[in-house]
Symmetry: C2
Subunit: 400 residues, 2 copies
Amino acid sequence: MYLTHLECPKCGRTHDANQVQNLCQCGAPLLARYDLEKIKSTVKKEDLTGRAKSLWRYREFLPVQKDENIVTLGEGCTPLLRADTLGRTLGLSQLYIKDEGLNPTGTFKARGAAVGVSRAKELGIETVAMPTAGNAGGAWSAYTARAGLRSVVVMPVDAPDMAKKETFLNGARTYLVQGLISDAGKIVGRGVKRYGWFDASTLKEPYRIEGKKTMGLEIAEQFHWDVPDVILYPAGGGVGLIGIWKALEEMAAIGWISGKRPRMVAVQAEGCSPLVKAFREGRQESEFHQNAQTLAGGIRVPKALGDFLVLEAIYKSGGAAIDVSDAEILEALRLTARSEGMFICPEGAATIAAIQKMKAASLVDKDERILLLNTGTGLKYPETVEIDLPVLGAADDIVL
Amino acid sequence: MYLTHLECPKCGRTHDANQVQNLCQCGAPLLARYDLEKIKSTVKKEDLTGRAKSLWRYREFLPVQKDENIVTLGEGCTPLLRADTLGRTLGLSQLYIKDEGLNPTGTFKARGAAVGVSRAKELGIETVAMPTAGNAGGAWSAYTARAGLRSVVVMPVDAPDMAKKETFLNGARTYLVQGLISDAGKIVGRGVKRYGWFDASTLKEPYRIEGKKTMGLEIAEQFHWDVPDVILYPAGGGVGLIGIWKALEEMAAIGWISGKRPRMVAVQAEGCSPLVKAFREGRQESEFHQNAQTLAGGIRVPKALGDFLVLEAIYKSGGAAIDVSDAEILEALRLTARSEGMFICPEGAATIAAIQKMKAASLVDKDERILLLNTGTGLKYPETVEIDLPVLGAADDIVL
């Protein structure tokens, strides 16, 4: 194992990684640190070629000590697809979409859950509790079921039906709350105190970010270690963006990629855009977004615990934070399906709406290599598509 | 290219693969034939190691001539997962599930569509028409959209909403019919005559089977070229089973696997079991199943064009055809989610119900290596899960 300790990115304190940990005393999330020199001397990027097609191919960069503790459903190694038709429409010659919808449970949340649950199992945790906007609950309930752990999940009453169903089906003790994910988080917090469950809330749990980090490793490998110029990511809690950035730093530290970094762009919905507001005002942290509302439930996070890490990555990389309307999201979703045959989730569609805005504002050049993260399959969001199809009798003919 | 011609498995006639083809004059589907000697002398199975993680890694076994015609969304290379918890419950020590839900569009239909549409594009076809129970429509509409081809899809009015939505969203001209997939097929047939569309109905189109064949290649590669003892497959049209069998024959012909074959088991629903009836009666072909009914829409096919090929594979391999009830399917679906965290489709769940019956009837030994095909994600079937979850106020506590 190459994991050495946990570190607070705010106050610098270090913490024992062999103990169950949540936040630092200072209230900030903890980041896993590795012996990068040892990784550098043991594994070459060429060694990856013959490895398994899952995020566990990046074994050395992950916090699980013993292979027997790995809980897998085949997560990671999602396709990197050129989107040439869409690119032509948008006036971009090198547009790519990484389709995280091809993960178990249909979203990138599977990455965080696979690594988080594996490590929880390794550390002897028996019951995992978490609030969710929906998809993390689906993912964590799946991996805890597979691991034989118990789980408690609380989600907003207006979370997508699909997420409620899969969480329940996977055997999680599932509750709805009349409120937002922040309210769900408080209920979980009280339950954790009362019953001694492990609090697996986003970033209160230090290892899901390591799972999401593998998106960054994959991006580098799929681009043949020459990373793209711009990466757009739909940011709710922002863990994916923090993870990708962390992966880029770790790979640069061991010489797998050059110092050049993609400009990191956080995409939010107009109805819930705390990071965009903070970015426009040049701040290091965001403020709670009152009355958060958007159809893209995965990015309806009024205030993220890791906001300062997201903003740091944006500033350091010369990136941006962009917001788009729900109407723009729906239009982008339809355009992507018609153009590329990809039924993406509203959060993914937000990145497509955002790149259009960035192009219009000359924030990207037409020939730059641009990567959009589609964080999940549209199959989890049937409510985004309305249909009214012609019905034929068996003896009828199609008439054009 | 290693494709040499198309061959009728019924009357033996050969057909030019460089022309657009549907059925043989004798009414039977056509199979693609390759120069296997040439494949044998050019590629070794070890060569696959470094190749792309998609079904196109088996390039030599596929009918597309030029790489530029490949239409891909990252299909294939789905995970092979051990199901140890489920296996313990069922009394089976080596139970595996191949999860085809991790394909684009959420089902194994993506394999057939990727190869079928790529070849259609290569042959200059402009409009593709097809009947579907639902999922093939979702897949073919996605790949035709990505290829820039037009598509016409007809499906039963009671097909799953999700399939209707994705087919429509992908830009296919989509019609519903008050009837079964067989009625949809007749409407397509009349439209094909009238408008000159290409008829891409199951097995009237010779190349989707080549895409589905890659399941067989993957199974062999994932089992390190030592194929399992038994394979259970939910058979509607049965193309997947025919494809897997064809792959096994091709691999054996070039010495990639030994002569030993898995016992091939076709699983159907009690409400639509023409192959099971034919198998019980020892026949070579099936009869039309009147009033076909099952919640597993993908296997609601009253009479398959390739029935004789499915039955041939079953007989040659010493396999079987098994039917299960809808109630057994739903119970198996729930059991799999609780045990393994996998939300599978009803068709996949049918294989789990079937292996329980086979175990009870001593048709399998407890230590045999058994592979179940889950053909799609449960996310496409929200109607299989009913929920009634507790709703909390924001100030409420969870009370155990």
